[in-house]
Every structure is written in structure tokens, then in C-alpha cells.
């Protein structure tokens, strides 16, 4: 974290509301991106971002070191995203077809795809993977998405999710194994 952010956090801890607004501006895109990658839904990601900063405001006294503000924010966002995933289990998720990506999800195809057929195949397969991931328990899904979509290291995921690195490793292994089993021959 930069010195500027640390200074803003210190000011915010002393009650400076403008410093808080500056911190929201500095982190909101990152929190939104993280939430989107965990939930794959624009509206849910927006809700997580807003709720995260409202909670950060109310719980700033729990932050011991201003240096760890980013992990503090991400952890609050992750916990709220897990709550949303748990609530989602009871309702249908807007994914009309197993072979179609939901409207708000985009795929970066520019670098890897060789042909339009291959692109379509990859898109369909990704939709299947995401559909299968919906059925994973929230913490396994979150670990998988933070590691594989967001590209965080296991250590970073452990820090955000507040668990040992071994748990991250185990959750990741279980989640990937379940996906492999679920997708079976379509991965061949």
C-alpha cells in the first residue's frame, strides 16, 4: 500500500470524512472487480461494493494497522459475497442456457483463440464451467474464483478469506476435482 493510502486511513481513523471518500474512490473499482469475479453478476457486485464501504466505515475501529487496510476491505467484501452466495442457493440464478454466458460476463478471447469455432467452443465450455461452479459450496467457489479468475496467490487468498494457506490449497483442490468430475467428457 502506498504512503498516501496509509495517510488517508490514519485521517479516516481520526474521523475525517473526506479521507473516507478518497479511500472509497481509491478502492471502489478494485472491490467491484473482485466482487464481480466472485459473483459474476453486475448488480450483486454493486451491492457488495456499497455494503463493503458502509461496513468499513462502521468497523474502522477494528483495523489495527493502517498498512492492512486493503486486506481489511477485501475480507469484508469476501464475507458479504459469501453471504450473497448462500442466499442465492434458494433462488434461481439468471443463466438461461447452460451453453450461454450471462449477459454481464465477458471473455477475453483476443490472445488465445485461433478460430471462430474454437472461440465458440471455449465460450460454451466456460458457461458450463461457471454453471457447474454455481453448485460448489460458497467458500470453495470463492477460493476457486479468487485464485483462478482474479489471479491471486494462495497466500493472498488465505489473507482475504481469513484462513490458513493449507485450507485454501485443500478447498482449491476439492473445487477443481468436483468441476472435473461434473464436466466429465466435455473437457476432453
Amino acid at each position: 500500500m502506498t504512503d498516501e493510502i496509509t495517510r488517508l486511513v490514519q485521517l479516516f481513523q481520526k474521523g475525517d470524512r473526506q479521507a473516507f471518500t478518497a479511500l472509497v474512490r481509491a478502492f471502489q473499482k478494485k472491490v467491484y472487480a473482485l466482487a464481480f469475479k466472485m459473483l459474476l453478476d453486475h448488480l450483486d457486485a454493486d451491492e457488495v461494493t456499497q455494503e463493503t464501504f458502509v461496513r468499513v466505515f462502521g468497523r474502522i475501529d477494528q483495523l489495527k494497522s493502517p498498512m492492512h487496510f486493503d486486506a481489511f476491505v477485501y475480507r469484508i467484501a469476501t464475507n458479504y459475497a459469501i453471504d450473497i452466495l448462500r442466499k442465492r442457493k434458494g433462488r434461481m440464478v439468471a443463466m438461461p442456457d447452460e451453453t450461454e454466458l450471462p449477459g454481464s460476463i465477458q471473455m477475453d478471447l483476443s490472445s488465445r483463440v485461433t478460430s471462430p469455432d474454437k472461440a465458440l467452443e471455449n465460450k460454451e465450455l466456460l458457461a458450463r464451467i461457471l454453471k457447474a461452479a454455481e453448485e460448489l459450496p460458497p467458500r470453495q467457489r470463492m477460493t476457486l474464483f479468487l485464485h483462478d479468475i482474479e489471479g491471486l496467490s494462495k497466500e493472498e487468498v488465505a489473507k482475504i478469506m481469513g484462513c490458513p494457506e493449507a485450507t485454501v490449497r485443500s478447498n482449491l483442490h476439492i473445487a477443481r476435482t468436483k468441476l472435473k468430475k461434473k464436466l466429465g467428457k466435455s473437457l476432453a
Binding site: R17, T21, V24, R25, Q28, K29, Y32, A33, F36, K37, L40, H42, D46, T49, Q50, F53, V54, R55, F57, G58, R59, S104, I105, Q106, M107, D108, L109, R112, N122, L125, L126, I129, L130, L144, F145, D148, I149, G151, K154, R169, L172, H173, R176, L179, K180, L183, L187, A188
Partner: protein
């Protein structure tokens, strides 16, 4: 190395999280194991595709609006009074936990006090408010708790066959 030894390492192998020696060993195994090769290829496909999920850019106007919404929510809730979910429950839980601990300690103390006398064979103590010097007074020894036995039926005062007589004794014998 077998298939079962190698499978749990596939994730770390792809993430380059294995030591050089371990990765070399997995490499050697994969060369001879078609199952592991298939497994690894499937895993690689999943991780590669997941990495291609892109976050859409909702635009600067969205983020400006979002920041205003956050400030608006804080203003509505009051600067200091942002509610924390289940905070009141956590406080209640803390008080309840303390009360339960206290009750457990009191129960243990009374239990120990009561049992210590029973084990010594002194019988239970009874509350004697009139006595000076102590609040409890010894009434009668534990051996005197046994209800008196009717010599004719062999049944004690509370209606159970006496333990001092055999059940056969309590059955009236038919007259010859």
C-alpha cells in the same frame, strides 16, 4: 509415484507451486501415465478458461454514482451509528455465556458439597435455621434411610420388596 500420489499435486504443478525435485518427479510420472496426462489437461483447460473471464467496465459515471450512494447511506444512518449486523445478538450472547458459566460453577460447588457428605455416610444435611454456629445440621446417618420392613410381608414402607429379604420370602406360602 502412482496416479493417486500425483493427482493432489496437479493443481500446484500447474500453478508452479511445487519444488524443483517434486515437479521433476511429477514430470517423470506424467510421461508414463495417460490417466494423469488426461487429468492434467482437463485441469489446465478449466484454469485457462476461468482466467479469461473479464470484468465489464461499467463506466466512470457508475462509480461516481456509487460513491454518492455510499455517502448517502452513511448520512442517512448517521455518521457514528452505522448498524453492525447481529451486534446486539453478539452482546446478548456474551451475557448469556457468562450466566451459563456462573450457573455451572454454582451447580458444581453445591454438588460437590452435597456428595462429600453422602459419601462419608453421614446422610444429607438439613437446613436448621435455629442452630447457632452453622447453617446446616446433621440429622441422621445414611444407614437409617432404609424404610422399615413389615415382618409378615417382607415389603418395606415405600412398597418395594426388601433387599434384606429374598423375594421368595415375601410370597405367602400356601397352607398344606
Amino acid at each position: 509415484m502412482t496416479y493417486h500420489h500425483t493427482t493432489p499435486l496437479h493443481g500446484d504443478y500447474l500453478d508452479r507451486g511445487l519444488s524443483t525435485e517434486c515437479a521433476a518427479e511429477v514430470d517423470r510420472h506424467i510421461a508414463d501415465c495417460p490417466d494423469c496426462r488426461t487429468d492434467l489437461e482437463r485441469l489446465r483447460r478449466i484454469t485457462t478458461l476461468l482466467k479469461q473471464v473479464k470484468v465489464p467496465d461499467p463506466g466512470q459515471a457508475f462509480f461516481d454514482n456509487q460513491a454518492e450512494m455510499i455517502n448517502g447511506r452513511l448520512d442517512t444512518a448517521g455518521a457514528a451509528g452505522v448498524p453492525r449486523p447481529f451486534e446486539y445478538l453478539q452482546e446478548t450472547r456474551h451475557v448469556l455465556r457468562t450466566l451459563i458459566r456462573l450457573a455451572a460453577v454454582i451447580t458444581l460447588l453445591f454438588g460437590a458439597f452435597y456428595l462429600s457428605d453422602v459419601r462419608q455416610g453421614n446422610g444429607p444435611r438439613k437446613w436448621m435455621p435455629g442452630k447457632t454456629g452453622s447453617r446446616y445440621a446433621q440429622t441422621e446417618p445414611a444407614s437409617s434411610w432404609v424404610a422399615p420392613i413389615d415382618p409378615q410381608t417382607g415389603i418395606n414402607g415405600i412398597g418395594s420388596p426388601s433387599l434384606t429379604t429374598s423375594p421368595a420370602d415375601s410370597i405367602p406360602k400356601p397352607e398344606k
